[in-house]
Symmetry: C2
Subunit: 261 residues, 2 copies
């Protein structure tokens, strides 16, 4: 059981859990959770942690209500050891920024540690070869906090550079068309054979992986949901094959321009 | 000692070790190294693994010679369990793409697993608050494999979007001026007060962190070397303060446009 409130004894860990399976969580993340009296996070992220949560106060939240969750975490952390968890890396579309904003606004002098995790871009990429070998951009298609026009101009700019682009939050019930909107922008700048990867539940239960091309994107739109990360290759990306099998995507780093192999 | 060569018994793990300290390596990465007969990698990345390497063949390499290292790994992996390690995530400016290219070219049917790690962008960001909370871009300033003109046009495009940019390989003996070149491009698009973070040896021994602004970038140029990751904030990024202390950078996600807190 959490101890009684002790002013000055609180702390706050903002923890990135990685893609989901325990094997991909860092020891530092697990240690912060083990040390916490309160663990706060989305119910789906907390499930694999169940064995670690005995004797702790666990505050499960649904998507949304991030500001209330952050305020609650900061309030508790004045007097208790609190861990607030995000999937992936807490600093990438996760809870870190809003918690730090609330903390700053509050003026509370609470020790805070941010523990990085394997973010969805890297988890998804690792399942389809090496699509992000060089420069790349990360863009969320969620228009809850960013106007759609801004998202579209960012997509145009990064696709025009010909670097790979990772799409977070590519689709949800509230925005079913954003994935194909992004594909439309990609097609204005990249050839039809540009490889794309759709990775659902990367390195978690029920993982599904599809590798195809920009030309065929409509055929895989149904595989895209809020648990999916999409990688759209750049101008140098190509399908990675072993024999006749499509294995994934390779974005060469440019050694072929310097070396013979 | 590694067993004798057994055709068909080989495998290849391409392992991202994260920033360096053992606490930030995933159990999956450690397991792949424990199972390997041969471990191949840059000497500086292998050092923290020393206790795990007893009884294994260890092939230490210097920077450069990546193609030879990849070819050697693939040759060995026909008959032995091989782990080839990169710092951070092997898919981000690491060994994954060149190893997969050599493997494909070779046509060898070897089981391959790519194990993601915490990449430098996320490790560095976690040490300075939450600078990468929303969309961002990752650009290497190394012109060994990418022409300088291409790098400069990418910098202009991403700075003009006003999203945060992570600079990998910001400086080396061979390219001492690239960091200030990038700062020059940033200044064409972003105000002088834009925060920047210079994180040397993030989450490793001898970590050094500097947070400043675009206007002051010249004063911190000496802190930038090949072990450094630089984060240049976007148009919404600001310095994160606790009392009078500069703690880092916050890039708000936009909740302030929707909520009062």
């Amino acid at each position: 059981m959490p101890s009684h409130a002790e002013p000055g004894k609180g702390s706050l860990a903002i923890v990135g859990l990685g893609p989901g399976l325990r094997e991909y969580m860092t020891p530092r993340a697990l240690k912060a959770i083990a040390a916490a009296e309160y663990v706060i996070g989305n119910a789906s992220y907390l499930e694999p942690l169940e064995p670690l949560l005995a004797g702790k106060e666990v505050i499960r939240s649904a998507m949304g209500r991030e500001v209330e969750r952050a305020q609650g975490a900061v309030d508790l952390a004045r007097t208790h050891r609190v861990a607030i968890v995000s999937g992936g890396d807490a600093g990438v579309y996760g809870m870190a920024s809003i918690v730090l904003e609330v903390l700053e606004h509050d003026g509370a002098d609470i020790p805070v540690e941010i523990i990085p995790g394997v973010t969805a871009a890297n988890a998804a990429a690792s399942r389809v070869g090496s699509p992000l070998s060089g420069d790349f951009a990360v863009i969320s298609l969620s228009d809850l906090l960013t106007p759609l026009g801004v998202i579209e101009s960012r997509l145009d700019a990064v696709f025009s550079l010909g670097i790979p682009v990772v799409l977070y939050n590519p689709r949800s019930r509230g925005r079913p068309h954003n994935f194909l909107m992004a594909i439309g922008h990609a097609r204005q700048h990249l050839p039809p054979g540009t490889p794309i990867a759709i990775v659902r539940n990367a390195l978690r239960e029920k993982e599904e992986i599809t590798v195809t091309t920009l030309a065929e994107a409509e055929t895989v739109g149904d595989a895209v949901d809020m648990h999916t990360t999409v990688i759209i290759g750049g101008r140098e990306s190509r399908i990675w094959r072993m024999g006749d099998d499509v294995k994934g995507i390779i974005t060469p780093r440019g050694y072929h321009r310097k070396y013979v192999y």
